[in-house]
Symmetry: C3
Subunit: 158 residues, 3 copies
């Protein structure tokens, strides 16, 4: 019997939305789905290395690199009204309840062989290079995403 399939486009670079994406992805993988998370636009920031990486860049690309959050633990919240609450408060609650942080959720996804893909077009646009992103991820375009999604049972845009 063919495996069920879940694909998620992670467009958002918000901590809470990325958590939701990785919770659903890990759940689906535990259910024995083949799972793909396609990181595009701001969703790529989730995969940036926390430490600065020295690469050659133009002025505009340097500016982007500086303005955008470096990695999972630097992201903000999606919710305007809740922003007063802050990502720190959310992380505090997550830890208090022995739930997983975003970084731990990403590690678990990699252990469960969730396919973590970064959109090459976004990397071009924002001037990001592979050295700046975490290890163990794939690079592809929208065509590869669609090839996975058209056979998907659960397809979400987050």
């Amino acid at each position: 019997m063919e495996k069920k399939r879940t694909t998620i486009v992670l467009f958002s670079g918000d901590y809470d939305k990325a958590m939701a994406a990785y919770i659903i992805a890990n759940g689906a993988a535990a259910y024995d789905h083949e799972v793909t998370i396609f990181h595009t636009f701001w969703g790529i920031n989730v995969l940036r290395k926390q430490e600065p990486v020295v690469v050659k860049k133009g002025i505009l690309e340097k500016l982007f690199a500086k303005m955008m959050p470096r990695g999972a633990e630097q992201l903000g919240l999606s919710n305007m009204h809740m922003a007063g609450m802050g990502p720190k408060m959310i992380k505090h609650v997550v830890t208090k309840h022995n739930a997983l942080t975003l970084t731990q959720l990403i590690d678990m996804a990699q252990e469960q062989e969730v396919k973590i893909v970064t959109c090459t077009m976004t990397m071009d646009l924002l001037g990001l290079q592979q050295e700046e992103l975490v290890d163990g991820i794939e690079y592809a375009g929208v065509a590869a995403y669609l090839a996975d999604a058209e056979d998907g049972n659960v397809n979400l845009f987050i």
Copy 2:
């Protein structure tokens, strides 16, 4: 013949997004789909009772309860640029055109037997208790959502 199925993850706690979720859910139910709305993260605020409910809570949970909107009619708008417009203006337009308010849309969904589910993990994290939420809803985790979604014809994340 098997019934078609629609599932919606309602992550957002914004008035306009919750309206869109319930309009699609009611439409799908009218089309004889089996429909599930899985309320998670800020989407849970849509289901809070409007009047304050006295329950025992820790300090942090009390703070959350105070910061988050209590029920459908207290939610804000998703749109930064439109926030000047305000939920009041939207509700005014809805009433003027004899369209349904969010509260009415939720009532209609319950009459049409849309399965309204609240994410138990989020309730734990935010310290919400069942007494604080409206009646006639179900409580489940991401596994139950995925069980519905993997057979879904239309699956959306809102």
Copy 3:
């Protein structure tokens, strides 16, 4: 063999989210999918004509018309944290990398016969009239969207 089908609800009126919607739509059309983009709520602003159109309106409808962006090139960004970056910076990068602007992506979608639909209920609510929107689009309600989506392989809410 029946054609595969992709449907997108474009709820958002943000430049970057509309870009993502039209990039996926164009990709799916190139893959020979039948594609529908259903513009609802703020997503309708993507389809407004850039020049002001004189139509008879009530005071509230005039106010909406004034507050909401007129067409693809006037939209803002989805990302609170990136809003300092501004749509201008994004468009600059898009042009620099010979990528397509939103207006060009919409033109390409029309050439590829993507079905671009505007939600009639939203038009009623916001007091928008057909003369105010770009040519070559269709007008329909949520029932028509669901009829397309229930046979869809890829269904997204953006």
